[in-house]
Subunit: 134 residues, 4 copies
Amino acid sequence: MYTSDLEIRVRYAETDKMGYVYYGNYAQYFEVGRVEALRNLGLSYKELEEGGILMPVATFNIKYLKPAFYDDVLTITTKIIAMPTAKIRFEYETRNEKGELLNRAETDLVFINKERNKPCHPPKDFLDRVKQFF
Amino acid sequence: MYTSDLEIRVRYAETDKMGYVYYGNYAQYFEVGRVEALRNLGLSYKELEEGGILMPVATFNIKYLKPAFYDDVLTITTKIIAMPTAKIRFEYETRNEKGELLNRAETDLVFINKERNKPCHPPKDFLDRVKQFF
Amino acid sequence: MYTSDLEIRVRYAETDKMGYVYYGNYAQYFEVGRVEALRNLGLSYKELEEGGILMPVATFNIKYLKPAFYDDVLTITTKIIAMPTAKIRFEYETRNEKGELLNRAETDLVFINKERNKPCHPPKDFLDRVKQFF
Amino acid sequence: MYTSDLEIRVRYAETDKMGYVYYGNYAQYFEVGRVEALRNLGLSYKELEEGGILMPVATFNIKYLKPAFYDDVLTITTKIIAMPTAKIRFEYETRNEKGELLNRAETDLVFINKERNKPCHPPKDFLDRVKQFF
């Protein structure tokens, strides 16, 4: 299993009139979580795209337990729990500064060959870097 | 079962560099879908809040099948498939102008008494208006 | 002068913890305002882009007078007050349902030839459709 | 004059189909810029609000010179160039990793007494901390 932690501070723009982080904004936090998790493995999502691989999200599931508030520093824990195939699953947990678990989520992303617009396998370098954790 | 359709045109701001609607933005479309579904029943989410009931989202699950693009007019179909208890489930389908199914999603929202910050039951008027469909 | 009105209902996602529409979200409303203003002239911004013309924003100025709130139906008035040259100015006013002026804004957009990545003049059809108002 | 620098990495969500950071998203970057500028002075915007002072934005002007792209690490330079009165002006410059100036902006924020919903002066502690730079 591969795990990577990231801190994100809640912006005013991300709150709503309830005073909570709007439920749809966690998708952005998890995007940043998985991109930084890959960067920590030596992989740049930007370079993957420049190399012709897109990784659109195929499923996104989230269970909200407690709200986050303005100016909170959240810790997003991103996990890869299985070797990627033509898709890759990321799991996420969001915690606040008190260590309270705010939500749990998961996304499945598919590898797409941009030119042929077809599913494909991840590049060898991608697999090699992930493999060391399995 | 209660069903309500809503048309939303994709804003430039909602696209990403892949040219697709960003995966996190559907949460907003579904918010609008369920609010308009309730309005069509004679229920105002704004007035519910003013009356002391909050409805935060407890779970959100979405499966993406095809992307939406800039300027597409999407039809969001919002369904209530069971009588609400202390929570209410909404199901959603997004289709483009060709009638293609782009994604399916569901959210569970809980009823919260704002003053006591505790789960509660929906107001009688809310239940009465939904009941006619079950 | 050419004027076009558009109604937009404020989404929950667009509010912030102050209970107001977040100051940065008006940029989206004005994007929709100018795109619909062009559509009412028979011009599709999407087709302009497909034809190789981009229209990035060069300046954006806004003066906020009063806030907008959740579920408000706002009227965005978009004006073109001069013939476009290599750039086009749009002016905006936002009003709420009581007719109160909430803000005034303006944007300058430049015409860019996508292939050459250089400023260019608007297409003849664009100018012809705008010209009837001047 | 008081100056504070902040680095922000561009999220995928913040790009649009042109591949640029959407013009409306800089408002969020500048919000973060000024909040961190205040924090570096020992001032918490969150605590100001909790103490009954709101600081809504009254004007926002921005001139875009060059676009920012996905994954760019931007430096937001935030300046306070004059002592605040019943309002405070912040000036901003955004630069990319090559040091290129991408845009210049300014915002005026007003101090509002939340309870009375009226303009007010900044708290003494606020003025004291800013004063040392003038």
